[in-house]
Assembly symmetry: C3
């Protein structure tokens, strides 16, 4: 067996990580779109159907993430550091978990007034997830580094927007005249989980940025 054929044997296994990360990214974009639909839907029954459909997407994403970890354990050769693959997979999985967690709470807490803050978070999240998709597709060949770097910068700036939105909405919540402590507690949970989604997008972007510094 020639050295070249041995190398070749590894190549397809190595490339599988790109496909799996792209699959995760597609699911995250899908989840963000469904979330946006849900928080723009005024009919509670239709809204709950959207939110419930996020559960299937989250389960689908769990399976893809699990496959990344299995491949990581079995593959001797990986396209970049094992720790980076592990950390990127974990951050992306956290995005799905927290987005589903927040959506579930709209139902569990019986929140009927989907407010402007939820829609603004939806807007920040979908922009972050689409920018992440640019990064993830860009990692395949690392040709357009500027596009990846710009997307990372955008995700970091969207995370700041998420922070500011949380601050602003908490300030509004606590200063509402007739709001009950229970209502505050429910909304606060929801807003904090959505803000965590933007944190996890930033975590993923930071891993991708560090991979680029090492390999490009």
């Amino acid at each position: 067996m020639s050295f070249a054929s041995i190398v070749k044997m590894f190549v397809p296994k190595d490339r599988i990580f790109y496909s799996l990360f792209e699959e995760v990214s597609a699911t995250l974009m899908n989840m963000s779109e469904v979330f946006i639909k849900a928080v723009n839907e005024n009919d509670p029954t239709a809204r709950h159907l959207h939110l419930k459909s996020l559960e299937d997407l989250e389960h689908k994403n769990d399976e893809t993430t699990h496959r990344i970890f299995v491949e990581l354990g079995q593959n001797f050769i990986t396209p970049f550091d094992r720790e980076d693959i592990h950390y990127l997979a974990t951050s992306l999985d956290d995005i799905a978990d927290y987005l589903w967690g927040a959506s579930k709470r709209v139902v569990i807490y019986d929140i009927t007034d989907v407010d402007q803050t939820l829609r603004e978070f939806g807007d920040i999240i979908i922009k972050s997830v689409y920018a992440l998709n640019t990064c993830i597709h860009g990692m395949r060949d690392l040709k357009d580094l500027r596009a990846i770097t710009n997307a990372c910068v955008l995700i970091n700036s969207l995370e700041n927007d998420g922070d500011d939105l949380l601050d602003k909405s908490m300030m509004e919540l606590y200063s509402k005249p007739n709001i009950s402590a229970v209502e505050i507690s429910k909304k606060k949970d929801l807003y904090q989980m959505l803000e965590t989604v933007t944190d996890k997008c930033e975590d993923a972007a930071n891993v991708i940025e560090s991979i680029i510094i090492k390999y490009a």
Copy 2:
């Protein structure tokens, strides 16, 4: 000095990790049993004694965890990846921390009605911790891989049960007619910490699963 004797010199040092992880596992089983006793005890004084005794077990566990980190720093040869040992020790330590944290809050928040939810969490946690014990003992020789894998699958499924229990109990809590916001806030803290215990069991099981994929 022969090569064999050099190898031998390392072997006992290497094996120490198994003993230390088994010690941690024994303490976690002990803590879960005491927690179950506490939440089934109707007499508040007896209950507080059980809960307080968890503090000593948590301190004992801190010491064993610290010894794992010291050994990790001193040993050149480890039975599996350093990162895996580090992450497994951290997850197991988190189980003890959150279980003790929740128990402490029963006392601090002066919770007198130990409810059915606490008992159900106790049940999920003791099952998870016993399954983890199967995994940890199985890592010594990696002979019965099926037993380890089954235990990991069980722990993942118990973590889902923990999620569902948290959702159900939060829904009940928020819909109770005469409950105060303060009461909700106390119980919510408690339930969330117990749910985190099951998350940390899953983290530990995931590390063990990835070790098995690599070495078995």
Copy 3:
């Protein structure tokens, strides 16, 4: 090119990590001092000015942390394990984030009664951050191991004090006769974030301790 000159070429790059960590440490000491001033200031306007000035320090720290990650990606040779540098930088950055997060909440939640608990947390935090500074400066030559170890032990003990202070203040908060659930919720957030600052100091001390075990 001689071997010695190649080695020399790497040395200055390698040493940059010490300078950057010392810069982070100086900013953390500065932030703790400003926080102490703020929670001892009775005039709300002067207090808010102190708290706002923490924002600039936090941004400055973000930039230094980012430089550590860029250097980590570019440098082939590092003074200690890459994972340790990564984890230390992250823990130190978390200290700044949570201290700024807590300070911001004093303003956002419109907390006018800066209480004794806030001052006690300030006291624990400044002691932890100064002890961390001893550790970080000691890492340059690893000459005075006893001083580093003692500082690590102190940080661990201060983290326990932080835990106890949180427990005590939560117990007091929940047993106050005329306090509203909203008031409890605001103060609880604040205390928990300050307790997390001490956790992150302990995380940083634990990394430094493990570096010492490996290299000293």
